[in-house]
């Protein structure tokens, strides 16, 4: 392990946490922009320090563990949520050389595994809270995330087949001619939807569903434990945006501008799109969500695999 990688290991989580915190402000500003309001614009220039102010506030809030909760698991759940998201960033290649483990030959599987583990955070949180709403939220989260993980994995297979590798760096290199978003447009859409469901963001935020479940799986959480769920959610947005950039939008590749700028630019646009989704779309009913997943997205992703496979076979044969 080189010194550079060690520095990366220290810096990456700090940067991600800072970004996620900043994102809470960015989201509120953007929602304001799309709702003809201004959003928080008072603290610091343009309101950027709002995120810091909120962070300080939540640090000073009482961190209360309900007496009826299962203490150990209750404390563990937000930590899992945070950890899995942060670990996933290890394999995201910012540029060809700058990342902790972009060359990992099972990089994509690693990300999927971490996302799979991320389900435990919400399920355990819902379970350990020992209250109805939290449990319902946790159950919804489990069903939603597990089922969407299926299509997420299947949608990615198209990319993997075209690259012939699970390494995210190879995947980006394979897109030097044409970004995968064109040949893999079906996979792209499925992955995008699954990514939204995976981070349980609006419009697929049924595990939280404020108006029906209180706050869903984190109903009983307060103080910094709630803050961790919150920050993990925003880090999740960054993660999914970075993943989509890497897998479908050519990663760091682009003309003129240097590589990190391209990567940041694409990721930022995607994050903006995530927030636009929140501003524009209402939450579907739970059965609609499941029907969309199993009846539309699953066949679509399977079809995508079959077609991609057939085209690839024809190419190699011809």
């Amino acid at each position: 392990m080189t010194l550079l990688a060690l520095v990366g290991i220290v810096i990456t989580p700090l940067v991600i946490l800072g970004l996620a915190t900043l994102l809470t402000w960015v989201e509120r500003r953007l929602l304001g922009v799309w709702q003809n309001r201004c959003g928080p614009n008072r603290v610091g220039p343009g309101g950027v320090l709002q995120a810091a102010a909120d962070g300080i506030k939540i640090l000073f809030k009482e961190d209360w563990t309900p007496p009826f909760a299962d203490k150990g698991v209750f404390v563990l759940a937000p930590a899992i949520g945070m950890m899995t998201v942060l670990l996933s960033f290890a394999v995201i290649p910012l540029t060809f050389s700058s990342s902790i483990a972009a060359g990992l030959n099972v990089g994509l599987l690693f990300v999927l595994a971490m996302m799979g583990l991320g389900v435990y955070a919400v399920v355990l949180a819902g379970w350990a809270s020992n209250s109805k709403f939290a449990l319902l939220g946790g159950m919804r989260a489990a069903a939603q995330m597990i089922s969407y993980e299926v299509f997420m994995g299947l949608a990615l297979m198209g990319v993997v087949m075209m690259t012939g590798s699970f390494s995210l760096r190879d995947i980006v290199m394979a897109q030097s001619g044409l970004w995968f978003v064109l040949p893999q447009c079906v996979g792209f859409v499925v992955f995008l939807l699954a990514g939204i469901a995976e981070t349980h963001r609006l419009p697929f935020d049924l595990p939280e569903g404020e108006n029906e479940l209180g706050a869903g799986f984190h109903t009983e959480y307060s103080g910094m434990k709630f803050g961790m769920f919150f920050i993990a959610e925003y880090a999740g947005i960054v993660l999914v945006s970075a993943l989509i950039t890497t897998l479908y939008l050519g990663g760091w590749q682009g003309p003129i501008l240097p590589a990190p700028i391209w990567f940041t630019l694409k990721t930022t646009v995607l994050i903006g799109f995530f927030i636009l989704l929140r501003a524009a779309l209402p939450r579907p009913r739970y059965d609609q969500l499941m029907a969309l997943g199993w009846k539309i997205l699953l066949p679509l992703s399977l079809l995508n695999i079959v077609v991609t496979g057939a085209v690839l076979l024809l190419h190699t044969a011809g």
């Binding site: 922009v33 799309w34 709702q35 003809n36 309001r37 201004c38 636009l276 989704l277 501003a279 524009a280 779309l281």
Partner: protein, 170 residues
Amino acid sequence: MLGNVRTLILTFLHAFQSRVTVQYPEERPYLPPRYRGRIILSRDPDGEERCVACNLCAVACPVDCISLQKTEEQGRWYPEYFRINFSRCIFCGFCEEACPTYAIQLTPDFEMSEYNRQNLVYEKEDLLISGTGKYPDYSFYHVAGVGIPGKERGTSEHERPPVDLHTLLP
């Protein structure tokens, strides 16, 4: 699906519209003259207190936040003290409607924040203004049939002299 895409585009286009937010402390919203804000006690055109301590406002107040005590000076009634607890007032304006003398009036001013709740209790000195408020010409004692120093009974506007009861005797 297409509907969703349309919604996304339309929502995005909102970014280019003008903001509806009024950036309050720098930019002030227009408050109409009949806005119901801070309450004042007005004076009549002669510069005397209008309030006659009739207690009607206190009775009308749904949250019982007006407290006053009547006192009398040569036939004229005054409130000895007049207190409004603005931490309870809901600015409904019922007091203004109940008042027979136009003494109590609501004004277009809402900037009365305090760090100390006790400071929201306004005394008569705080409430009384030197002008007539919304009704510049009205003076209760000029139309009411009570006698006060400088105005005998029967000399009010539109008032006939009092009937001498003795002329009615058989």
